[in-house]
């Protein structure tokens, strides 16, 4: 828990999960947090294979769809990458 308190848990699904070969990432952030758009850019820089999936995805912040990319993402938050849905 201590470790998670200084990190954001990134959840990856479908093409994003396949691009990285894993379901979750622990992403370190400062105690003040980071803007969502900066977080996404940093992810794309660190994992170029994730770029395509990130561009096509919606983001879900602590279970709620993120409409404002200036929202601060803080330590302990959950940040999910949702590629286009394919249920049915």
């Amino acid at each position: 828990m201590t470790r998670r308190r200084s990190r954001v848990v990134i959840l990856l699904f479908a093409s994003a999960r396949e691009a990285l070969g894993r379901r979750t990432l622990d992403w370190p952030v400062s105690p003040d947090g980071v803007r969502a758009d900066a977080l996404v850019r940093a992810l794309a820089r660190t994992y170029p294979r994730l770029g395509l999936a990130l561009r096509a995805s919606r983001f879900v912040h602590n279970g709620e769809y993120l409409h404002d990319l200036s929202t601060p993402i803080r330590p302990g938050d959950e940040f999910a990458v949702h590629p286009p849905y394919g249920g049915g």
């Binding site: 959840l11 699904f13 479908a14 879900v60 279970g63 999910a80 394919g86 249920g87 049915g88």
Partner: protein, 146 residues
Amino acid sequence: MSVRLTDRTLSVAGAMRALEGPGLGGVVVFAGRVRPDRGRAGRVFALDYETHRAPALRRLAAIERDARARFGAGRVVLWHRVGRLKVGEVSVVVGAACAHRAAAFDAARFLIDELKASVPIWKTERARPVRRPRRRPGRARARSTG
């Protein structure tokens, strides 16, 4: 339960029981099965379904509320299976029970369209390479269920 995400077999008979109710004369059920399509990687033998569970259940519950309000559905079923499904297995069952058939058809159509468009569920194809026959080349088909 009217909203369900499960790794167990979906029962259409169970859905029909969940759609019984006084005065509900028209019941429409849609079931989607895994098709043996040909994708880029070959012939599909299974689909792996995954979901982001909490937001998916909230979205399913919202779709149910909408169907009740917009179409007067007295009973609604929105069930999706997750995990590995072989060709022929049922991946999704949605259904609506209304007083009359027109509303039940419209409601069921709404349920599956909304589910596919807006619920965080994904499928990944599991395929085997296909050797192309020399004489009768097959047509490529890459669409998935439903």
